[in-house]
Symmetry: C2
Subunit: 332 residues, 2 copies
């Protein structure tokens, strides 16, 4: 093991090998300018012979931009964010962009550092799912001075950066309508909320609260452990039956797991409703009743913002409608 690395082949090497100038190599390999086909072929052959690979740094330094879009996510362990990343990567790739993903590990400091690094690399634009609707503001402002920025799924309201995401209020209304249709009373519903410092966490909380102002509400994080733990809190109040509305599918999954561990049956004893409907979480058993975020439409909307001319008019907000999905965790 321990192979030493070959000195990179540069354009100058290819130029010498093909008997032309570096500029001609550049044109032959990437330029769209007209040129002698014979020369072009000779250059391409030389590049192949020598195993030439372009140094994108050189190009980017000269052109003042790299054809790469950066995506900053709070946490890749959350399957909703992972699904967003995968979908966005595919959408952007089909439009000539490459996506690189960085995780903030749930920390605004790491988020800030990652964005700084993206900016330092002269990325074309930045898509960010902000960690915190207050503390991420500085990072967003900084980024916006340098590149096109799009907030995705979560937003910082105090900053003038376009947003693409699902309509959390509408999603909660769909859920509330379903819960009401099942005939449960307000006192029998509980909300397992997520991070209230994120806009999605807060908006879903508010949406629930608007529909069921007197129901118990618990606040935690966007992860499975919190759902499990929240069940413990709920059961310790002596609750033996009811409906649980979770702020995310992962929380719902944890809740179902916790209920199961406590000997409860879903949907027999408790009905559980999730939020997101994307990625592996919604496939758990019993299959989740949830609202599905339109991930493809979200990615398309982002692509439009990214592709737009800087300075051109773009919507400040693209709110997409979720779709109700009836599963088995909350049958009618």
């Amino acid at each position: 093991m321990g192979v030493s690395h070959r000195k990179p082949v540069t354009m100058k090497d290819v130029a010498a090998h093909a008997g032309v100038s570096a500029a001609t190599v550049s044109r032959a390999l990437s330029g769209g300018r007209s040129m002698n086909p014979a020369v072009r072929d000779r250059v391409q052959a030389a590049a192949r012979d020598l195993g030439y690979q372009i140094n994108l740094l050189g190009r980017a330094l000269r052109q003042q931009r790299l054809n790469i879009v950066g995506l900053m996510v709070p946490d890749l362990d959350n399957p909703f964010f992972a699904a967003l990343a995968e979908q966005l990567a595919r959408t952007l790739r089909s439009h000539g962009f490459e996506l690189l993903v960085s995780s903030a590990a749930g920390s605004v400091e790491v988020e800030a550092q990652g964005v700084q690094s993206f900016l330092g690399q002269q990325i074309h634009s930045l898509v960010i799912i902000p960690c915190d609707e207050v503390e991420s503001a500085a990072t967003l402002r900084l980024a916006q001075q340098r590149v096109t920025v799009v907030q995705f799924d979560r937003r910082v309201a105090t900053v003038d950066v376009p947003f693409v995401g699902g309509d959390n209020a509408a999603g909660m209304e769909l859920i509330a309508a379903h819960v009401r249709a099942t005939g449960v009373s307000e006192s029998e519903v509980a909300f397992f909320g997520a991070d209230p410092h994120s806009s999605s966490g807060r908006e879903r909380w508010e949406g629930f609260h608007r529909a069921f102002p007197n129901s118990p509400q618990f606040s935690g994080a966007f992860d499975i452990d919190w759902g499990y733990q929240a069940v413990t809190e709920l059961l310790s109040r002596g609750t033996k039956t009811g409906t649980i509305v979770a702020a995310a599918d992962v929380i719902a999954l944890g809740a179902i797991s916790g209920l199961h561990a406590a000997g409860m049956n879903v949907p027999g004893d408790f009905r559980v409703v999730g939020f997101d409907g994307v990625g592996i979480a919604s496939f758990a058993l019993p299959k989740l009743t949830t609202v599905r975020q339109p991930v493809e439409k979200m990615s398309d909307a982002i692509r439009l913002l990214i592709g737009a001319e800087p300075g051109s008019a773009t919507p400040a907000e693209t709110l997409l409608q979720p779709e109700f999905v009836l599963g088995e965790s909350s049958p009618e």
Copy 2:
């Protein structure tokens, strides 16, 4: 909307503002060289005043490398890969590296393109979960000519690139021992295999085959849909009961979902065993019996390889032992 972007502040600007040369700015901001503290403070103040952010491309072009590690994964939707990415990002961050993730979307072509792009960006090193144990070879060879490369979780055997991953054979032995201990006969066990063109898919298949050479085996992909579909195939053979060993947790999850849809009970009618034990899939209900891959140890091993001097002796293979986890999908 549509803010136009400020012209970036360069070192020259900072130098002029502080009344020093660009070289001094460089030393004051990043250099470890000794210098007049008063001058250093003045430069740092100037940088702050002007909102200077370093252009990493300029630095990298000069230094011939960027302090970034690239991770190429086959697919971020697979929660095992997402968990690996998240863990590796954390491990590397605590050792001064930054991790950027790119998804191959399951395609060797996209994989090749993504690796090319990483190399073009002069990344410090590349960690790759190869898509295909044959067709990814060229990409690996190419990458190894330029940077330190580590194969992760999956490997291409025909290439001399160090590998870090779980011991799939040992994992399958743990599973086989468990299945045997539950007293099921060979004819009652079925294997839901994954992509046979990946080393992990093949090795788990072989491990199962060694233990149960006469059991039925189905081959598909590393995703939930395949697990669901495989159940259909199994049931169409008239099977009414038995044990299903899946090559991955996501497949097991799909299988459980399919069994459920077909009116079957787990573990009553069918017992299901998974593989990976990491990320959200293993939390599904009924809680999966699986073998857990030691993701943290894997990340540490990778960090050691990446941090090693190029040319120094490093292990060609780091095989880590999975741990049996008894869940509820296959009780004794």
